[in-house]
């Protein structure tokens, strides 16, 4: 199973070395379950800075972040941001 993990803005620093721009592609064994919260944990992204969590562009509220990701999912995370 393949999941793309993207960190943006001030969270970019939590990406592993060698990450391409904002993203790393993560490989998981078949049947291995991984949730957004587990990835947040694994890359030591501070919880206080996890604000906008999108799976395939769709916002995932806090109570949905323990649902396992599926093959090909794109998980993107931002701290609180705004512009105009």
């Amino acid at each position: 199973m393949q999941v793309t993990f993207k960190l943006f803005a001030t969270l970019m620093r939590h990406l592993p070395p060698g990450a391409k721009r904002h993203a790393v592609t993560l490989e998981f064994g078949a049947g291995e379950a991984v949730t957004p919260n587990q990835l947040i944990e694994r890359f030591a992204v501070p919880r206080s800075e996890v604000h906008l969590v999108l799976v395939n562009g769709v916002y995932l509220a806090e109570d949905g972040r323990d649902t396992p990701l599926r093959d090909g999912d794109q998980l993107a995370i931002w701290p609180p941001v705004a512009g105009g």
Partner: protein, 618 residues
């Protein structure tokens, strides 16, 4: 007090200037800046007047908090009738000019009539004079700025000017102050140029005083600055990445209009994003961004100061563009990037410089180029019009060529300068113009962010995101997250944002504060500064009054509920990718509810009840 209680009336036809007291009764109802200046415009002009004729007036207006220590308190607005939309234009700018004007002792300047020859207005505190500007006509904003500084040998003079775009009739030309801050939208620059007014040069050293309760004000200001500092958006995200932080977000959620809004996502988004501005570029190893910069009094400092790679085709052999200047904001990067399919950051930064140098709204410019590109693709426009240039989506060369042409009013640039509505009409495809009331869309696709469809359709100045930025809620979760793909509840959201924003725009502060502040944070600062008592309710009431006054002006100008619409493309052509795939904008579901909340008739007319409630002028 906080108001200077004085306005400067400039009769350009007669070449006369006069001081008069500010109407404080109106100030109590309409606050200042956007609201109060609109009140003057309504009182003094015929809404049916020709925007570029002598009967239209143009008002530079500050708010009561402009020039004070309140964070972001340096704003001014230009209010006039727009030549692009025929509606009321109100363009808000930062930089330093607004505070300087206030420090010179003026709340507003009302320009009336048309000067027989090019002039500039020079203000040194209470002294104001019209000065011959024959030597400035035909010059860019940047040249004008330098010539004025050289002439008066005073680095502290703050200058607002129009460039060659405005002089040559570009209908989305802007007024640029402090070299790269803009009263950008709706063609206020064209109005200024139509009056033969080239520049306004201000030097103020009287200061801004008369705060009602200085001790309470300073305490409140300090507390609220802290709120901005501690908020992750205004304290961290905006200073670090600017508004450009949005490029990737909006692309990811599938609401980044691309290729004249045919698409809702753009492959090159990350190359022109805020994050990319920090990366060393291959050419010279330097990042696009040099530093962030603040407008007067602003403790957020979202402004970008950038350079272009000297070796880039747009600036090679043009050393005048090698230094630092105002860099990309999200809207500009989107319009000149995603919407034209261009992902060359240096090219977009160059066109951004040109927009500043000669005074053009980068949103309308980029969107008009995008429309022209689609017309070119259809063969409606050919190299015959462009003199050989291939106007293809994604072509950085085409983009920079267009910028140079519009900026200087040459050749096809004249047609591009009329905006996408007139361009598409002329070439037989009005449906390709992505505009509301003649003004081009900004950077949020209403198929992916439903509330923005209503925002655009009902905006009092044509398509605009800054009249009710529901993106904050629908995408960013400020103040609370709503679902961008549903229409339920959006009418109320839009109305609430519209009213609050109208109040904020009338105070002299920046709407970006509202990423961290609510009116609960703002009201105490207003109350400590201004005569009378200022509560959240009073601000909201004033905001709603202002909204209705603007609507009323537009109605009298001949705009009706039928103009509260979106281009067919957004209502019929479904989004092709991303979370909004298969969706169009549901304006028809939101609009009736919105009218009802406003207390208007079913076809969007103001009612007598509303007029009475807000004591609107007849």
């Amino acid at each position: 007090m906080a108001w200077a209680k004085k306005l400067l009336r400039v009769n350009l036809a007669k070449g006369e200037v006069a001081s008069e007291p500010l109407n404080m009764e109106w100030a109590g109802e309409y606050i200042g800046q956007r609201g109060l200046a609109t009140r003057y415009l309504v009182a003094e002009t015929d809404p049916k007047c020709d925007p570029l004729g002598a009967d239209n007036k143009m008002i530079f207006a500050t708010g009561p908090l402009t020039g004070t220590a309140v964070s972001t308190g340096g704003r001014y607005s230009v209010i006039t009738k727009s030549p692009l939309t025929g509606a009321v234009a109100c363009s808000n700018s930062g930089g330093f000019l607004g505070a300087e004007l206030k420090s010179a002792g003026w709340d507003m300047i009302i320009f009336e009539g048309k000067s027989p020859k090019p002039v500039m207005l020079r203000i040194v505190n209470e002294r104001a004079e019209l000065v011959d500007a024959a030597d400035l006509w035909g010059k860019s904003v940047w040249e004008t700025d330098k010539l004025i500084h050289d002439k008066y040998q005073d680095a502290q003079i703050r200058i607002a000017a129009v460039g060659r775009a405005a002089e040559s009739g570009c209908l989305y030309s802007a007024i640029i102050n402090d070299l790269h801050r803009a009263a950008g939208r709706s063609g206020v620059g064209a109005v200024m140029a139509s009056k033969n007014l080239k520049a306004v040069a201000v030097r103020g050293s009287r200061g801004v005083g008369g705060v009602k309760d200085p001790a309470r004000f300073m305490k409140s200001v300090a507390e609220q600055k802290k709120v901005l500092a501690e908020n992750p958006v205004t304290g961290k995200g905006l200073p670090a990445l600017g508004t450009q932080v949005l490029m990737n977000v909006v692309n990811e959620i599938g609401a980044l209009p691309a290729n004249n809004m045919r698409d809702v996502q753009f492959d090159g988004a990350s190359k022109i994003s805020g994050e990319a501005m920090l990366e060393p570029r291959p050419g010279d190893g330097k990042p696009n961004l040099t530093t962030n910069a603040a407008c007067f009094g602003c403790t957020i400092a979202c402004g970008r100061i950038s350079t272009i790679d000297k070796n880039h085709f747009s600036v090679e052999n043009k050393p005048e563009y090698w230094g630092n200047s105002g860099g990309l904001e999200y809207e500009a990067a989107w319009a000149m990037g995603a919407d034209t399919g261009v992902s060359d950051m240096d090219a977009i930064t160059y066109t951004n410089f040109i927009c500043n140098e000669d005074g053009m709204d980068p949103i309308s410019f980029g969107a008009t180029v995008a429309a022209a590109m689609e017309l070119f693709e259809l063969g409606a426009i050919t190299t015959k019009q462009t003199g050989g240039v291939e106007l293809k989506f994604g072509s950085a060369e085409a983009l920079t060529w267009c910028a140079d042409q519009v900026a200087t009013g040459q050749g096809f640039g004249k047609e591009l300068g009329l905006g996408s509505k007139r361009l598409c009409e002329k070439y037989g495809h009005p449906e390709l113009s992505m505009t509301v009331k003649g003004q081009e869309f900004p950077a949020y696709d209403p198929r992916g962010i439903q509330g923005m469809g209503l925002t655009y359709a009902t905006s009092n100045r044509g398509a605009c995101h800054l009249r009710s930025y529901t993106v904050a809620s629908e995408v960013l979760g400020i103040p609370e997250k709503t679902d961008p793909l549903v229409t339920d509840g959006k009418a109320g959201l839009v109305k609430a944002f519209q009213d609050a924003t109208a109040a904020v725009d009338s105070l002299g502060i920046c709407v970006f504060t509202t990423f961290a502040w609510t009116l609960d944070n703002i009201a105490p600062q207003v109350d400590a500064a201004c005569d009378g008592e200022w509560s959240v309710d009073r601000l909201l009431e004033a905001g709603e009054r202002i909204w209705n006054l603007e609507r009323d002006y537009n109605m009298k100008a001949g705009i009706s509920g039928a103009d509260d619409k979106l281009p067919e493309r957004l209502l019929k052509e479904a989004a092709k990718t991303g979370p909004a795939k298969g969706k169009v904008n549901g304006l028809e579901k939101m609009l009736p509810e919105y009218y009802k909340l406003r207390g208007w008739t079913k076809d969007g007319q103001l009612t007598d009840k509303v007029r009475k409630q807000f004591a609107l002028p007849a």
